[in-house]
Amino acid sequence: MSTAHPLAPHLSHRALPLLGLLCLCLFPVTSRAADEPALRDPAVSGRETPLRPLFAGSWQKDFGRSDKWEEEVQRVIDQLNREMQRQGRGDAGSIGMSGSRRGVGNLIAHARLAELITRQTTLRIMQDGNEVRIERQGDAALVCSTLTDIENTFASAHGTELCGWDRLQLVFQIVLAEGVLIEHRFSVDPGGQELSMLTSVSSGNSQPFNLRSFYTRYEAPEDGMNCVQTLSRGLVCSALDSATPGAAEPTR
């Protein structure tokens, strides 16, 4: 019980971006701006619940519009070089200096991690009056309440996760061991047909590496199965049209 969390030494500076998220949450949504996406009151009328954008649906990645991590890395390096040249602290080869080389090494590591965790070509999002659940193939679902502004959603020895709402954006912040901060920021366009996910990876005082992915809505084929999780028989599925529940072979 008294074991110190491995993230404890990093908390002071780790908390800053989280506090930033909190500050943004303090701005009330007073009116619906023209570019705001379709809002949905997830709860039955009469309950004083915040309005949240509708994320629910099946989404497929738009590779044409989504960032490519190599290009983003190159863009950031070019930008760094230009800045350094402006400051007169070196020539175009300044990234060869040891400190900068380490910085570029971190940048590439962050970029590759960002690419690794955003590889999913599709997302399936469920949303009701209580929560938004973003299911990603090969990764844990991102789940956040629609009722509270900030929520502590997961904590283990390997990292912690918070989620919250920054006005109309749904934000997840994950702090890994080693103090790496990952942020996913989801938003939908006003027409509700396009989903944007901005993923940022940073550590220490490093500049966040940002990778933006765009998704378009699509009609996922129905799997025709109704599945119920049971303890004793695993996931029990039955065909939706079947008159006999449990007709299909249970699967785990």
């Binding site: 019980m1 008294s2 074991t3 110190a4 969390h5 491995p6 993230l7 404890a8 908390l11 780790r14 908390a15 989280l18 506090l19 909190l22 949450c25 303090l26 009330p28 004083e48 915040p50 090494g105 971190n106 590439i108 590591a109 962050h110 590759r112 991690l113 690794l116 990764d139 844990a140 679902a141 789940v143 509270t148 502004d149 900030i150 929520e151 502590n152 959603t153 997961f154 904590a155 283990s156 020895a157 390997h158 990292g159 912690t160 996760e161 918070l162 919250g164 994950i174 702090v175 890994l176 061991a177 080693e178 790496v180 550590s203 119920v228 999780q229 049971t230 303890l231 004793s232 028989r233």
Partner: protein, 383 residues
């Protein structure tokens, strides 16, 4: 409203950040030392009449962990804990019966004056790996027999090698926390062994008087006095042929049928839930063990690659990802446990309350009914 929400946000944020400092839901049990391996003291043959005290085990209470409210699956785990408040008393009852040291042992919705010894408990912690109960046993005179915490730790050997499946038939594995129940039973026996024959007789007499006073305070309350320590005592007893006492005994017999019926319903719930509860406990045990191993590995920096490298970052992310996936699966399985046992819990509710309210309400109504019955019967037989 917005300010309130913001304050709540700050509070949750701080809870989250501070929680991250020292949490991971420590699997190590807090509080008392575990009971260890305990051999139940079983009596061969019949106990003496005076030793056969009747025991009531009330449905347990739970101690909600405020931290749990913010965790994933909080509502599901609250339902499991609620089921445990009905399940664990029956498990303790079984152990007391197997010891063969007592009279009847019944599970009750609340304290009942018709029993010699009442056991109540609060579930402080219950996972597949740890069980911690704060238990209290008080006899009808008010003498406290036990008021202590009992902890037990399950070990790998307490569970089957693989998680059992109901496909091959209903599981009936041993209780991984049987040592805890045995420790309670042995401790109760140790207290009883310190009492004299006279003490035991006074407990049984006091039980009768308390029950009589509960039915007919005007006639019997004056027999009982409360001393400075809060214990009940009596100076004299009603005559054995006292007609009012005869009525009380008649009504008590009917009351016993009633609480026996309640007890059977709790037993039925136990039997329904046990196979799935055994499986859930084993999943829970494995989840706690996995958390413990992960925390240990993280503490030792085991397998840490060069800090800051992509390999190190991706390894950290994968560990994080799998710990989260494992927890989400455990929440899903727990949800499966709740949905599978829901019919049994509903059946208990239907049987006991006849769909007219919770069991506690029915029990209270029954007590009022008994008093009314007593008044009617004594009025009709009065000269």
């Amino acid at each position: 409203m917005m300010r309130a929400a913001s304050r709540l946000g700050l509070s949750l944020l701080l809870t989250g950040v501070l929680g991250a400092c020292g949490s991971t839901r420590a699997p190590e049990p807090a509080g008392p030392a575990p009971v260890g391996t305990v051999s139940l003291n079983i009596l061969q043959g019949m106990p003496a009449e005076l030793q056969m005290l009747d025991i009531g085990v009330t449905v347990f209470a739970t101690e909600a962990d405020p931290e749990d409210v913010t965790l994933p699956g909080a509502a599901i785990f609250a339902q499991i804990r609620d089921t445990e408040t009905h399940y664990l008393p029956v498990a303790l009852r079984h152990t007391l019966l197997v010891s063969n040291q007592w009279g009847v042992v019944r599970v009750l919705p609340e304290a009942d004056p018709s029993l010699d010894l009442l056991i109540s408990a609060t579930i402080v912690e219950s996972t597949g790996a740890n069980l911690l109960l704060q238990l209290r046993a008080v006899d009808s005179t008010g003498r406290v027999w036990l008021d202590k915490a009992y902890a037990d730790i399950a070990r790998t050997a307490d569970y089957p090698d693989s998680i059992p499946s109901l496909r091959g038939g209903i599981t009936d594995g041993p209780d991984p926390f049987q040592d805890l129940h045995a420790a309670i039973a042995n401790d109760l026996l140790a207290v009883r062994n310190t009492l004299t024959q006279q003490d035991l007789a006074r407990i049984q007499d006091t039980t009768l008087l308390r029950h009589a006073a509960d039915m007919a305070p005007d006639a019997f309350a004056s027999y009982l006095q409360t001393d400075a320590t809060g214990q009940l005592s009596y100076e004299r007893l009603p005559a054995s042929d006292d007609p009012l006492l005869g009525h009380v005994r008649d009504i008590q017999a009917r009351h016993e049928v009633f609480i026996d019926t309640l007890d059977e319903y709790y037993e039925a719930l136990y039997q329904d839930v046990k196979p799935r509860y055994d499986i859930w406990r084993q999943y829970s045990f494995e989840q706690v063990m996995d958390q413990r191993d992960n925390a240990e590995r993280a503490r030792n920096g085991e397998g840490v690659l060069g800090t800051g490298s992509f390999e190190s970052l991706s390894q950290n992310y994968n560990r994080y990802k799998w710990s989260k996936i494992f927890e989400q699966e455990f929440v899903a399985l727990s949800s499966g446990f709740v949905s599978e046992t829901a019919p049994a819990v509903l059946e208990l509710s239907r049987n006991i309350s006849g769909l007219s309210g919770p069991v506690e309400d029915l029990y209270a109504r029954w007590r009022v009914y008994l008093r009314e019955l007593y008044e009617i019967e004594t009025a009709t037989t009065a000269p």
